[in-house]
C-alpha cells in the first residue's frame, strides 16, 4: 500500500469564497439588466398607445397626411384608424396560411412516415435552411416571382407568398414532432381495421395531434404577423380597404411604417404598435401554453 504524500495545502478558501460570491452577484445583476428592456418596451407601447385606441381605430381607414396635418394644426384628435391595415393583414395572412398549412402538414407527415431515409434527411435539412432565410430575401423572391410575373404589380398575393414560405418550415417541423408523439398503437389500430391511408391521416392522426399542430400554426402566425420588410416590396400598402388579392394592399406593420415616416402622423404609431404587439404576443403565449399542456399530458 503506497501512502500518498502531499505537500501542505494552502488555505485559499477565503479568496475562493469571495470570487464565488462576486460572480453570483454579477449573474444576478446581469439577469436583472436583461429584463429591463422588455419592461421598458412593453411599458412604452402601452402608455403611449392606449390613448388612441377607440372604436374608430378599428373601423376607419388610415388618414392621409393632409388630414393629419390639419387636425394637428387645429388641435384636434387625428381622425381615422387602421381598418385598412387590419383587413389587409387578415387577407394576406389568411392566404399565406391556406397555402402553407396544408402543404406543411403533408410534408411533415411525409417526413414522419419515412424516418431514417437519406431523402427524408435532405428534405428536413433543406426545410431548416429555408427557416433561416432572412424575411427580406423572401420579399425579393416573391417580388421576382409574383409581383413581376404573376400579378404584374404589387399585390396582396405577392405578400402572402413571401409569408407562406416563412411559415412552411415551422409547420413542417411542428407536424413531424407532433406525429412522433402519437403513440404507435393508435396508428396500428387504425391500420388493423383496414382503413385507407388518407382516412387514417385525416380522421386519426390529425385529430389526435390537433394540440401539437395548433401550437405550430399559432407560432408561425405570430411570426409572420409582425413582418414588415417582405410586405414593403410585395403588398406595398394602400389607403383603402382592399380585398382584391391582385392589387396593392395595406397591412398593420406597413401602416406603422407609413406613420413613422410621415411627420404628421407619427403619433399614430403607438396605437398601431400596441395593437400589433398585443396580437402577436397573445398568439405566442397561447401557443406556448398549449405546448406546455401537451408536455405535462405526456409526462402523466
Amino acid at each position: 500500500m503506497v501512502i500518498i504524500k502531499i505537500s501542505p495545502l494552502l488555505d485559499n478558501t477565503k479568496a475562493r469564497d469571495k470570487k464565488n460570491k462576486l460572480f453570483r452577484a454579477f449573474v444576478i445583476a446581469m439577469s436583472f439588466i436583461t429584463v429591463i428592456p422588455i419592461i421598458l418596451i412593453i411599458g412604452k407601447i402601452i402608455i403611449n398607445g392606449i390613448g388612441q385606441i377607440n372604436f374608430n381605430f378599428f373601423v376607419q381607414t388610415s388618414p392621409d397626411s393632409l388630414q393629419a396635418m390639419t387636425a394637428i394644426a387645429t388641435n384636434k384628435v387625428i381622425p381615422g384608424g387602421i381598418a385598412n391595415g387590419i383587413t389587409g393583414t387578415f387577407l394576406i395572412v389568411l392566404m399565406a396560411s391556406v397555402m402553407a398549412v396544408p402543404l406543411g402538414m403533408m410534408i411533415g407527415i411525409y417526413l414522419y412516415e419515412n424516418q431514417g431515409r437519406r431523402y427524408t434527411n435532405l428534405i428536413r435539412n433543406t426545410s431548416e435552411i429555408l427557416q433561416g432565410v432572412p424575411s427580406i430575401v423572401l420579399g425579393i423572391i416573391s417580388y421576382l416571382w409574383v409581383v413581376r410575373n404573376v400579378t404584374k404589380g404589387f399585390s396582396a398575393f405577392g405578400g402572402s407568398v413571401a409569408l407562406s414560405i416563412m411559415m412552411l418550415p415551422l409547420i413542417i417541423k411542428s407536424t413531424e414532432e407532433t406525429m412522433k408523439m402519437i403513440p404507435n398503437e393508435i396508428k396500428e389500430a387504425a391500420f388493423a381495421m383496414g382503413a385507407p391511408y388518407h382516412k387514417i391521416i385525416l380522421k386519426v392522426l390529425i385529430p389526435t395531434g390537433l394540440s401539437g399542430l395548433s401550437t405550430g400554426i399559432l407560432l408561425s402566425l405570430s411570426r409572420i404577423l409582425g413582418e414588415t420588410a417582405p410586405l414593403m416590396m410585395t403588398a406595398l400598402g394602400s389607403s383603402i380597404i382592399n380585398f382584391n388579392v391582385t392589387k396593392p394592399t395595406s397591412a398593420v406593420p406597413l401602416l406603422i411604417w407609413e406613420f413613422y415616416n410621415d411627420p404628421n402622423m407619427v403619433n399614430l404609431v403607438w396605437s398601431s404598435a400596441l395593437f400589433l404587439t398585443v396580437l402577436v404576443l397573445t398568439l405566442n403565449v397561447l401557443s406556448r401554453r398549449i405546448a406546455a399542456k401537451i408536455k405535462i399530458g405526456i409526462k402523466k
Partner: protein
C-alpha cells in the same frame, strides 16, 4: 432502545440527534445517534427508502445543495462539528464515491485524478502531480491498466475501471473518511469483487462508510453494520454478531429476506 456499539474508543465520527426532512412533512432520517469506528468499514443497510443514502450524504453536507432539504442535529469529525467548518475543509477530509461511476467526461484520466486539486485552485509542481496520480492509481490497482493512456479521456474504461478511477480521485486528496453510496450496484460481479477487495485494502488507511443494498456484500467486507428502516436506526453492531444473532425482529426480517 437503540442498540449501539458502546465500546468504540475515539470514534472518528459521532452523530447526535440527526434528523433530515424533505419539505418539512416527510422525514427521511429520524433522530440518529451513532459513533463510527475509525479505520474500519461500516456498512449501512436497509430496504429501499429507509434513508441510508440520505444519512450518508449528511456527512459531507451534500444536502446543502438542495434548499428543500432541512437537516437538524450534529455530526462531529474528530470532535469538531462539521457544520461549523467550511464545506471546503470538510470535503477535503471526507470524500465521496457515487453509485454510478462519474469521471468527468471532458477531462483526461490524469486530470480526473487530480480534479480535486484543480477544482480547489491548488497549484502544485508537475512532478508532485505526477507522483500523486501514480500513487493514487496504484492504490486502486488501476495504474498498470492505464499508465500508457493517462492523457486520454476516461470514457473508454469499463464500469469497474471508471469506478476505481473515481475512488482514486477521492483518495488523491488523502481524506480521512470515504463515503461510498452503493458503489458496486451498477457493476458486474467481477468488477464488484475487485472493488470489494480494494475497499478491504483501503481500510488500513481510511475510515469507510458504505451504503449497500446487497446484504451479502455487507457480510463479506464490513466490520460494523447499521440497519435502518423507515428513517430510523434500528440496529447497529459488529457485522458478524448482527448477521448471526440479530437483536431486532425487523433486522432479522430483512436479513432473512422476509422483506427487502
Amino acid at each position: 432502545m437503540i442498540e449501539t456499539l458502546t465500546n468504540i474508543e475515539n470514534p472518528i465520527l459521532k452523530v447526535r440527534n440527526l434528523s433530515i426532512a424533505y419539505e418539512t412533512d416527510r422525514s427521511a432520517v429520524k433522530d440518529i445517534n451513532i459513533d463510527i469506528e475509525s479505520k474500519a468499514i461500516t456498512a449501512i443497510m436497509g430496504p429501499s427508502g429507509c434513508g441510508k443514502s440520505t444519512l450518508l450524504r449528511a456527512f459531507n453536507r451534500l444536502h446543502e445543495l438542495y434548499p428543500y432539504i432541512k437537516t437538524t442535529g450534529k455530526i462531529y469529525l474528530n470532535e469538531r462539528e462539521i457544520h461549523e467548518m467550511s464545506t471546503v475543509e470538510l470535503r477535503r477530509k471526507i470524500g465521496m464515491v457515487f453509485q454510478r461511476p462519474n469521471p468527468f467526461p471532458t477531462m483526461s484520466i490524469y486530470d480526473n485524478v487530480i480534479a480535486g486539486y484543480k477544482l480547489n485552485g491548488i497549484k502544485l509542481v508537475r512532478s508532485e502531480y505526477d507522483s500523486i496520480v501514480e500513487n493514487a492509481l496504484i492504490n486502486v490497482t488501476l495504474w498498470d491498466e492505464v499508465k500508457d493512456s493517462l492523457f486520454k479521456k476516461g470514457t473508454f474504461l469499463s464500469g469497474g475501471q471508471q469506478q476505481r478511477l473515481c475512488i482514486a480521485r477521492t483518495i488523491a486528496f488523502n481524506p480521512e473518511v470515504l463515503l461510498l453510496d452503493e458503489p458496486t450496484s451498477a457493476l458486474d460481479p467481477v468488477a464488484t469483487a475487485s472493488i470489494e477487495d480494494l475497499l478491504v485494502s483501503l481500510k488500513k488507511d481510511y475510515t469507510i462508510l458504505l451504503v449497500t443494498h446487497n446484504m451479502a456484500q455487507a457480510a463479506r467486507i464490513s466490520d460494523n453494520s447499521i440497519f435502518m428502516f423507515m428513517g430510523e436506526l434500528v440496529e447497529y453492531g459488529k457485522t458478524e454478531t448482527m448477521f448471526t444473532n440479530p437483536k431486532d425482529p425487523r433486522t432479522e426480517g430483512y436479513l432473512t429476506g422476509k422483506f427487502g
